[in-house]
């Protein structure tokens, strides 16, 4: 199982149609990702890297091509099945953290557990363990906006780990952070990779991309 393919993208294209204008954002992407890999996808803005990340994250569907995730042809899945797949298989880390402002730190972390139907006791225990691991346990009942940017992103990472997914998708995770917090977050992602998580990192910063084991550059909708 260990060295098996997690993701196989075959000739993925994505067109955006606005009125009569068709914009081809992705022009035939082939990408295989094995379990335990740490990949950085880089490229200038407009190169299509965010679109690619949304497709890998099952937030969006390609115009053409096929996407095999763990042997499943996910493009045939219905909307709710995709929700379940995102819930169990993928942990998202966003540039702007995307924490719920009215919920506590702990509640934010256990949110994927709620949608997975994990019972209250189990999910809170799991949430606290994750907070402990990321050195945030003392913050558990605070609102996210009371925390520093670095802490907020660590809460988001804890949330991404809640349902023990195979894949962590991080979209510019250091983009809103100062250098020190950014380095902390990268160290954390590397640690998670060592523990067996597959990590796909989207970034336009070469320094950040260097942390990955494999760097893929997107140029004008194609992998160079």
């Amino acid at each position: 199982m260990k060295d098996q393919e997690l993701i196989n993208l075959i000739n993925i294209t994505k067109d955006y149609v606005i009125g009569d204008v068709v914009t081809k954002v992705l022009k035939g992407i082939y990408l295989k990702v094995k379990r335990g890999e740490f990949i950085a996808i880089t490229g200038r803005s407009g190169s299509g890297k965010s679109t690619l990340m949304n497709l890998i994250g099952l937030l969006d569907t390609p115009t053409n091509g096929s996407y095999i995730l763990e042997e499943a042809d996910v493009l045939k899945f219905k909307e709710d099945e995709l929700s379940d797949l995102r819930n169990r298989k993928i942990g998202f880390v966003f540039q702007s953290f995307n924490l719920l402002p009215r919920s506590t730190v702990l509640e934010n972390v256990i949110l994927p557990g709620i949608y997975a139907g994990v019972d209250k006791k189990t999910r809170e225990e799991k949430g606290r363990n994750l907070l402990l691991k990321l050195d945030l346990l003392e913050q558990e009942s605070k609102r996210p906006n009371r925390l520093s940017g670095g802490q907020q992103q660590r809460v988001a990472i804890a949330r991404a780990l809640m349902n023990n997914p195979d894949l962590i998708l991080a979209d510019e995770p250091t983009g809103n952070l100062d250098i020190k917090s950014g380095q902390d977050v990268m160290r954390l992602l590397k640690k998670l990779n060592r523990e067996g998580k597959t990590i796909i990192l989207i970034t336009h910063e070469r320094d950040i991309a260097k942390h990955a084991k494999r760097v893929i550059e997107l140029i004008d909708g194609k992998i160079s």
Binding site: D80, L111, N163
Partner: protein, 397 residues
Amino acid sequence: MDLNELLKLSWRALLANKLRSFLTTLGIVIGVFAIILLVSIASGLQTYITNQIQGFGSNLIFIIPGRLGGARTPGGVMVNKLLIQDSQNLSVKLKNVADIAPVIQQITTAKYQNKDDEETSILGTTANYTKTVKNAVVEHGRYFSQSQELSGAKVAVIGQTVKNNLFELEEPVGKRFFIGNNIYTVIGVLKKRGAIFGIDQDNTVIIPLSSAKRQFGVNQVNAIYISANNESQIPFIKDQISSVLLKRLTKDEFTIQTAESSLEIVTNVTNILSLALGGIAAISLLVGGIGVANIMLVSVTERTREIGLRKALGARRADILKQFLLEAVILSLTGGVIGIMLGITGSLILARLLVSQVTIWSVFIAFGFSVIVGVVFGMAPAIRASKLSPIEALRYE
């Protein structure tokens, strides 16, 4: 997603916009309050009138001139063809099965010393009126006898309103006073009877039939009251009355009513009133519901990013739908409960001044309506939220 978690979410979202939630709820509160209160008034009115009619006695039949609800003679003036003679004919025919009291009614001024009562209803009737009409009870003094009635004695039994207006704190029995230009002596006072259809039944003076006939120069009666000795004989008596009266009159010249048939009319009228008032109130609830829909649409738009995030993290359509639907239902249900409490309180206060009676069914309907309003008006915004694509929603600024 379990209900507890959903409730917590909805509650928190509503508290985050306290003023907005309050104002939206207020729309529902007013609608539900109006339904409960207006239906209570209609229902209180019905009970009140029913009690009044039953006060006459359930064995009572009354005959009034003309046709009730029918066409009037040209010019709209009804010619009264019901005579004292008809009452006498009936007395003979129904001697063993009923008591009969014909009534001549005139509005005249009653005067005592320097006080007068301009709109006093003078009833000229027979000695067995109190036996026939159950709520005419002499509480003080006595009623006139048959010999006083036949001799046309100038004696009067007065109602509570007349007593208060003319005699105030004085003892009225034995006092002499004017009805029009004639002097009468008070011999008794009636127990309070209350108002029916807004007509004060206590602003009344009862005098012997022959005295009234002589004073007002009339042969027509305004009503003939007949009290059956046995309720089961009412249909038979009604037939007898018809056959006696039809010898002299046409069927359009009199109407026979019973307490039961009057109750039917009252029930019909108040039911229509209930529906009309409830319907008007329901419109305000509808407006409240539109308020809920409006604010939920705003809420969905404001929380587009939140919806996108939840979907990215694994929320299914149904999870999002339930979350927003529950918010709408909580808004309208809270409004419903507060509205019911205010409506009941308002109705109790109103019952002291007017007539009002909270009906259980109006409470249930108001409660049910507020839930339905929440579901119906929350549905469109909730469906809209559940259909948002996660990527569009996450990108939303």
